[in-house]
Symmetry: C2
């Protein structure tokens, strides 16, 4: 067995939780003393609901930046052994009673063997929402307004040209210790009512990668750049000022994908083996 | 010509504007000194944008209560005569620059002859949104959470039993001076993602009527009342505590319907003739 894989130690139960949050009033996911972060709030809520006396650390599938939202966030944490008849439904109810309305726990349960929220994941799916025509003020916390009309067809062509296994250095914040090689599995644009919404899926994203990819393609959508611009940015493998990192408000982590339960441990070991994966996503 | 119809006086231009707003942080539509109201904000913005020196009053199609939203609100107001080459696009841009992000002007132009935002309208369409399963915190400002699962089929049957021309006294706040007779033209429920969304259309709604109709049918949807309850409430023509007025956050004015331009004045006269129509809607 790979020693790098941290088991839920004897006397502990590993639990898995699914969360959604409106990131508008959080200083991002990651705990920071004296700031309101999703991790901080969730850790506090679990500690209170389980009457824990020790500090607790939760591990997240997709660390999100300040202002970024989530509909399908996944976390795990190891808590003092729970009795087999522990009532998870009541636990969820109690967590949602403790948490503010901008973060909701959708479900909780014992994690399957070998599960690690971060290292077992095989892919993350994000959406990015833009209003380029009429602005609906009810959507302003999760969609940005773009002042020029966007050509979704050109944007789909440009986005498709970025799919596959590449070095996405041109779209990532410089990262001394990590690789910027990723597999972009999906990048499409679709009109949904007043929204033009992008869907992006990759094994993992580097820091600011989703928002830079979107910024690059939006410059094509409003006519400032030709369709070929996207591919040329990818190929130069250098981050430059002509690619804008879009505002966080439009970005939502929609789903984290995992392999079948039997594959969770193997996947975790594989990911840990190439631990150079960057630390912050979105 | 019917004297009751107020013309845009000589030297004035009647303009029509389409608005959307997130009602969360407004004390409703109607102007109140020292409170933040949509009417107050919009009047101030128009006054500023047009450099008016006189106070201005805008007339609204659907007065909304505190916390109620709008996507298709319509207003008119009479302003000092505008030159024929007045740039309405620039005017809209300027209004949106003055207004906070929770209210947006979608378009503005000279009103067609005979137009009155309130009295020319032939129907109002509202939506009411409920999350009865998973709660999306990103939708919490425009959809309420209901703790029991709702049976949309039973709700559609109950809602259909209320359609038509009736005295809706059981669903209206008592109104000494007004009639509570309305024609309910549409009342349907549809699942859209995580939302169960009602659409209600009537010639006009009395105060709190939409939210009471929804409260009545939700009691059927979660099994507290049988389908026949809706019709029996309608027929007793008396407002009672077993019908809950739902929270305003779920309610949105979606659209105001007007007749063809040639019919605007006749419609205005007709509505004014039965001016007993109640003053506050939603």
């Amino acid at each position: 067995m790979n020693l790098a894989v941290e088991p839920p130690f004897r006397g502990l139960t590993r639990i898995r939780l699914y969360l959604a949050y409106d990131g508008s009033y959080f200083s991002g996911w990651a705990y920071q003393p004296n700031l309101r972060t999703v991790q901080g709030e969730v850790q506090k809520a679990i500690t209170t609901a389980l009457h824990l006396t020790q500090p607790l650390e939760v591990i997240v599938a997709g660390r999100t930046d300040a202002g970024v939202h989530a509909r399908g966030q996944v976390i795990h944490c190891d808590v003092p052994e729970l009795s087999p008849d522990f009532d998870f439904q009541k636990f969820v109810y109690s967590l949602n009673g403790i948490l503010d309305a901008d973060v909701r726990v959708h479900s909780a349960g014992v994690a399957p063997a070998g599960f690690d929220a971060r290292f077992s994941a095989i892919a993350r799916r994000y959406s990015y929402s833009v209003m380029d025509g009429v602005t609906d003020p009810l959507l302003r916390s999760c969609a940005i307004t773009h002042w020029r009309e966007l050509d979704s067809e050109a944007m789909n062509l440009a986005s498709a040209s970025l799919l596959g296994l590449h070095d996405f250095a041109s779209f990532c914040k410089p990262n001394d210790y990590g690789s910027t090689i990723r597999t972009l599995q999906e990048f499409t644009w679709k009109r949904e009512g007043l929204l033009l919404r992008a869907t992006l899926q990759a094994d993992a994203f580097c820091h600011s990668m989703v928002r830079s990819l979107v910024g690059c393609v939006i410059a094509i959508g409003d006519g400032r750049k030709p369709i070929e611009f996207a591919r040329s940015v990818l190929e130069r493998r250098e981050r430059m000022a002509d690619v804008v990192t879009m505002p966080s408000a439009g970005l939502t982590l929609e789903e984290v994908l995992y392999p079948e339960d039997g594959e969770l441990l193997r996947r975790q070991e594989m990911t840990r083996a190439k631990r150079d994966i960057s630390e912050v996503e979105g």
